[in-house]
């Protein structure tokens, strides 16, 4: 397939539709938790020849380390610039040892960002990732970002 085959056009509702179709809701999308195969195929009447649809659904479920969580990223393009300098960060997730650094914490707070932390021990890369994503999931949920 070519990259153009993945374009959804200019429909501003397209991301919601994609998420609704493959995941059911925004939180499941964040967690890359797809609808079960049977539910997906029955609900949308996926036929034998709909190989591309089946492949996309399979891609979400792929556990192969060759694919990371960008495998179902939805890219939005705008005609105008989005100036990230105008927007203050809303959340910083830090190692918990940083809490002792008063000046650092004050500086982040002054930016308007809220603060969450993750544990340093046990030392394990996957544990750090999991803890950070878990914190972010909780934050999104608490702030209502999934209610779209």
């Amino acid at each position: 397939m070519n990259i153009g085959d993945f374009e959804t056009g200019t429909d501003p509702e397209a991301p919601h539709k994609i998420i609704g179709t493959f995941f059911g809701n925004a939180r499941n999308y964040y967690r890359l938790s797809a609808r079960p195969k049977e539910d997906f195929e029955n609900r949308f009447d996926v036929q034998v020849l709909d190989e591309e649809l089946k492949a996309l659904h399979k891609l979400i479920l792929a556990k192969d380390k060759k694919y990371d969580d960008r495998r179902f990223a939805i890219e939005a393009q705008f005609e105008h610039d989005v100036d990230l300098h105008d927007k203050a960060p809303i959340l910083a997730i830090l190692p918990e040892t940083y809490l002792e650094d008063d000046a650092y914490i004050k500086r982040i707070t002054k930016l308007g960002a809220e603060i969450l932390t993750y544990p340093v021990y046990p030392l394990r890369k996957e544990y750090f990732y999991y803890s950070i994503y878990e914190r972010l999931d909780q934050f999104y949920n608490r702030r209502g970002f999934y209610n779209v």
Partner: protein, 370 residues
């Protein structure tokens, strides 16, 4: 046997947890521990980003063995540093509760190490929240996140991949449990099977064998072969980084065909020079890589990369030294070869101009830019 050498200070000089850096007597690579939920060492992995942190040196003699309890280290409120295994940490906490309690943050971090019960942990989190945050909403947000994390601990560890290789390929090869259980020749055989190249943990196995057999040429050849084979799956050369670092450490001691490797790398960096940003640290990696490309790679690729570095990379002293060294090595190569000197006059002129640019930069009192 891996030995404790120093600590990464992720606490910014304050009381809190530190990360032990360890080394093998046979390689120059620094390693860190990978642990499971019981703080048992499951793997030792090379760690090249140590320059991003403050380092605290230690003279304490401690060893780390895969499969044993790992080293846990922390700085106390009085500035002293403790490191030991879980049993030693528990003993220490019991004997020094008053001192530890002077830092509410450290006490909370150690509560996690000793698997304190919920109500004990909660008291600690509440004290931290009250002490660190002024805003009640922020306090509640942080406190709720800690509680949620505590409740989800078991679930999280269930979902995290086990540290031991577990894919079908790994199972076929029989690599279960600690690598220490396998003979080195068996591991070399496992590494050399092309079917295992994509197996999770290939680089860990390579480093394990490399630490035990630092002068075995088979390891160099395997490392290079693996890098070639993985070039499609590793477009940003990040998986290859620690292997390449180790190979470059071996370069002067062993005689394998480094010219092919240099040309392979030169082509990768030549087509995407931004990749060099991932190879700036540690400085020894940057300088040996640049020299390899300069002396054994294609001159075009090396010159292109040097030009890119002069224009784009941070202007640290080690960068200019490495660039000048690479340029001079290329010039020396050409002056040693009469035939090449005639053919390469254009390159020589370019290199001399580049050398001047670097020299001018080196002489500037303030190293703002080239």
């Amino acid at each position: 046997m891996f030995k404790l050498t120093s600590f990464l200070d992720i606490s910014g000089g304050q009381p809190g947890m530190l990360i032990p850096l360890i080394s093998s007597p046979n390689t120059n690579l620094p390693y860190v521990q990978q642990m499971d939920e019981y703080l048992v060492v499951k793997a030792l992995v090379p760690f090249l980003e140590y320059e991003n942190y403050s380092i605290v040196q230690t003279t304490t003699q401690q060893n780390v063995v895969v499969g044993d309890q790992g080293l846990v280290a922390f700085r106390l409120p009085d500035g002293t540093i403790f490191s030991g295994n879980v049993a030693e940490v528990l003993e220490y906490i019991e004997a020094h509760e008053e001192l530890i309690a002077r830092s509410v943050c450290l006490r909370t971090q150690l509560n996690r190490v000793r698997s304190a019960e919920y109500h004990v942990s909660y008291d600690g989190w509440r004290d931290v929240a009250n002490s660190v945050f002024d805003d009640p909403e922020q306090r509640k947000l942080w406190l709720d996140a800690e509680m949620s994390h505590f409740q989800k601990q078991d679930l999280m560890w269930e979902e995290i991949d086990p540290a031991e290789p577990a894919s079908d390929e790994d199972k076929k090869a029989g690599l279960q449990g600690s690598l220490d259980e396998y003979g080195l020749d068996f591991l070399i055989l496992w590494l050399s099977r092309r079917a295992n190249f994509e197996a999770k943990g290939w680089t860990s196995v390579w480093h394990h064998v490399n630490a035990a057999m630092p002068f075995d040429e088979r390891l160099s050849e395997l490392g290079v072969t693996w890098m070639y084979a993985m070039s499609d799956q590793d477009p940003d050369l990040q998986q290859s980084k620690t292997i390449l670092y180790s190979l470059l450490q071996r370069q002067s001691a062993l005689a394998i065909n480094w010219s092919d490797l240099a040309k392979f790398l030169g082509e990768r960096f030549g087509s995407d020079p931004f990749l060099i940003f991932g190879y700036m640290r540690p400085p020894a990696l940057f300088s040996t890589l640049l020299r390899l490309l300069a002396v054994q790679g294609f001159a075009d690729d090396a010159i292109k990369l040097i030009q890119f570095c002069i224009s784009e990379v941070p202007k640290d002293e080690f960068v200019s030294v490495a660039l000048q060294d690479a340029i001079q090595a290329m010039l020396a190569e050409r002056s040693n070869d009469d035939v090449a000197r005639d053919q390469d006059q254009e390159w020589v002129k370019t290199l001399q101009a580049l050398s001047e640019q670097v020299r001018a930069f080196q002489q500037q009192p303030e190293r703002a830019s080239f």
